[in-house]
């Protein structure tokens, strides 16, 4: 409203015309083309169960889980400024909550995926009371301790098989083709929803507040942004998404164990994807997941050497290539497929 004061007409001759108002650009032709292309691609992808091979669907489900995890880590670290090495806590909680709901309560496993994600979001609130006591580097390791508490806790619960884990028996009666097709559709929907929600959120007013917090927490607070509430919201949303990925992964995998569900490798791979793709960009985890998928396909047979190379790549990217591939493409060619900036029209 303060802007209007500047436009108080002093005479009829210089009444401001509508076209003199500063106009904010929020999209580009490229971004609109990307959006149309994405919709077409998703449309084609949705028909895959009708003509594709089941190994393709399994591969997609797996990479979709990695992507959703990485995308949530990007939201948390790249936008919320909360660098966590403990997001595997929510991945595991998602997996185990889904299993408990499906095996013991008789809930449809696919419905249980969504319920498990909600359960993790609820659990994230008390967890944040502890985790938010720490900040910066100590938040990162503190959240890892919390993940270990969940891992060791579940490893001592004999109802879910203790340390050696258990199987998802609730899917027993469903035909293999149906199971694989539905799992694939859920994974596709999760990927689309993940991108769409993060995109919509970052373009909203709350997204702007989040960016302000990331750039300078104190300054953001002095402008009236409720920093603590905002951070909590991001933490809970990230827990929801990560748990969704976890529940989905173990529906596809049919077997769960504490060491697999709460493995720190989940977060390690997410960090790798986000750093290679470009942190703090929606495109980052997408590019990172594609790179990770390709590397995994061609080099995972090398085992330890492959992981060693992934670690080295993450170090080199962080030290010398901090903008990541998506950031580089934006600087080099001005590509920005999901613009969240507000640019004044010249």
């Amino acid at each position: 409203m303060a802007i209007d004061v500047l436009h108080v007409p002093t005479g009829s001759a210089n009444l401001p015309h509508a076209s003199d108002e500063p106009q904010v650009l929020r999209s580009t032709p490229l971004a609109q083309a990307a959006l149309a292309g994405s919709v077409a691609l998703v449309g084609i992808a949705a028909t895959l169960p009708l003509w594709g091979e089941s190994s393709w669907m399994r591969e997609f489900v797996e990479i979709a889980c990695y992507f959703v995890f990485a995308s949530m880590w990007n939201l948390l670290a790249g936008y919320g400024g909360m660098v966590s090495i403990g997001q595997q806590a929510f991945f595991g909680i998602g997996g185990y909550a889904m299993l408990a709901l499906a095996n013991f309560a008789g809930v449809n496993p696919f419905l249980a995926i969504a319920l498990a994600a909600m359960a993790a979001a609820v659990i994230a609130v008390p967890v944040s009371w502890v985790a938010f006591r720490l900040s910066g580097g100590y938040f990162a390791i503190g959240s890892w301790v919390i993940a270990e508490v969940f891992r060791l806790g579940i490893a001592n619960v004999s109802a879910v098989g203790g340390g050696s884990g258990t199987s998802l028996t609730a899917l027993r009666g469903i035909a293999k083709a149906t199971r694989e097709g539905v799992t694939y559709w859920v994974a596709l929907a999760a990927v689309v929803a993940c991108i769409a929600l993060v995109y919509a959120f970052l373009r909203s007013k709350q997204g702007l507040a989040l960016l302000a917090i990331r750039d300078n927490e104190t300054a953001a607070e002095s402008q009236g942004i409720a920093v603590r509430r905002m951070k909590l919201a991001v933490y809970v949303v990230a827990a929801f998404g990560t748990a969704l990925a976890g529940a989905l992964y173990f529906v596809g995998n049919l077997r769960i164990s504490p060491d697999a569900a709460f493995s720190v490798n989940w977060t390690a791979f997410a960090i790798f994807m986000v750093m290679i793709g470009g942190i703090g960009r929606i495109e980052g985890p997408i590019v990172g997941a594609l790179v990770f998928w390709a590397l995994n396909k061609f080099f995972s047979d090398y085992g330890t050497w492959y992981l060693l190379g992934i670690g080295l790549l993450a170090i080199v990217a962080t030290l010398f290539f901090r903008q990541g591939l998506a950031g580089w493409a934006q600087q080099r060619w001005g590509w920005e497929l999901f613009p969240t900036r507000r640019v004044l029209k010249p």
């Binding site: 502890v130 580097g137 100590y138 390791i141 301790v145 960090i271 330890t304 060693l308 993450a314 170090i315």
Partner: protein, 284 residues
């Protein structure tokens, strides 16, 4: 009583894990997520050297210390300094990447089997004291932890180098205006932290075993000791390590599956009740 003594002795080892972490955080706010992996690496270096040279473990340990200092100095000077800044993300990712590189490198070289460093008769000797048997090696580790804490506190509080550490810790820009080269001061701090890491690694390999995947757990113990004790205080770290050691020992006594879990829970409880730690000196 026995549990208490064993807990204190375990705490001595955890104190050595944690001192390097405490020093690096105190001087440059750097969280070294590869702390545990460097400890394991030092243990494996000592084991490999013992296999090649057939020296007494004590000499191997002494020979390892200057190497560790040089490694730490170089790492900070040419790698980690580039990742420091207001944003903790780069240094976290770089040290986390180093952790993965070390784990997989050791796995490739030494396989996944746990190994230990043969300390000869020292490893099994024990003396009876106050109705409980105290191993000579654990007691020695406790004494080394006590000495290292005292030495570090003296270095920090009473020497020129310690003054430089405190100066760059308080305000890097002002310290640099006064003629300090912060990058070199940081490198010295990491060098000293790596000497402590080498001591911890050799003693860990002597007392129990090391395997390539042990690193993360050692990191968490070190971190918990630092936070329980309060940031920036070495005696605080010592006390934190003792509390952690005793808690774990009590947990192990109750049920072998719950010892580490109980240690984590006490850490989280301290975090909720007293987030600044028991004896805080510097502010984050």
């Amino acid at each position: 009583m026995d549990t208490l003594v064993q807990g204190l002795l375990l705490g001595g080892l955890y104190c050595l894990f944690a001192l390097g972490q405490s020093l690096m955080f105190g001087v440059m706010r750097l969280t070294n997520t590869a702390q545990g992996d460097f400890i394991v690496l030092a243990g494996f270096a000592a084991i490999a050297a013992a296999g090649l040279l057939a020296w007494h473990p004590a000499f191997i340990a002494l020979a390892l210390l200057p190497l560790a200092f040089v490694a730490g100095y170089g790492l900070q000077r040419w790698v980690l300094n580039g990742a420091l800044g207001r944003d903790p993300l780069p240094s976290l990712v770089v040290t986390f990447g180093l952790a993965i590189v070390i784990q997989n490198g050791l796995l490739q070289l030494f396989s996944a089997d746990p190994r230990s460093l043969d300390a000869g008769a020292l490893a099994t000797r024990s003396v009876a004291a106050g109705g409980t048997a105290v191993g000579v090696l654990p007691a020695l580790i406790f004494a080394i932890a006590l000495a290292a804490t005292a030495a570090l506190q003296w270095l920090f509080g009473r020497t020129r180098l310690g003054r430089a550490f405190r100066a760059v810790s308080d305000d890097r820009e002002i310290a640099e205006l006064m003629g300090l080269d912060a990058r070199k001061v940081y490198a010295f701090a990491t060098g000293i932290a790596f000497v402590l890491i080498a001591v911890a690694g050799v003693l860990q390999a002597m007392r129990t075993t090391v395997s390539p995947s042990d690193g993360p757990l050692l990191l968490l113990f070190a971190f918990e000791a630092v936070i329980i004790g309060g940031m920036g205080s070495f005696w605080g770290t010592f006390a934190g390590a003792m509390l952690l050691g005793i808690t774990q020992q009590i947990g192990f006594r109750l049920d072998p599956g719950w010892g580490i879990w109980l240690g984590h829970l006490v850490f989280l409880a301290v975090l909720v009740v007293r987030p600044q730690g028991l004896f805080p000196k510097t502010r984050g």
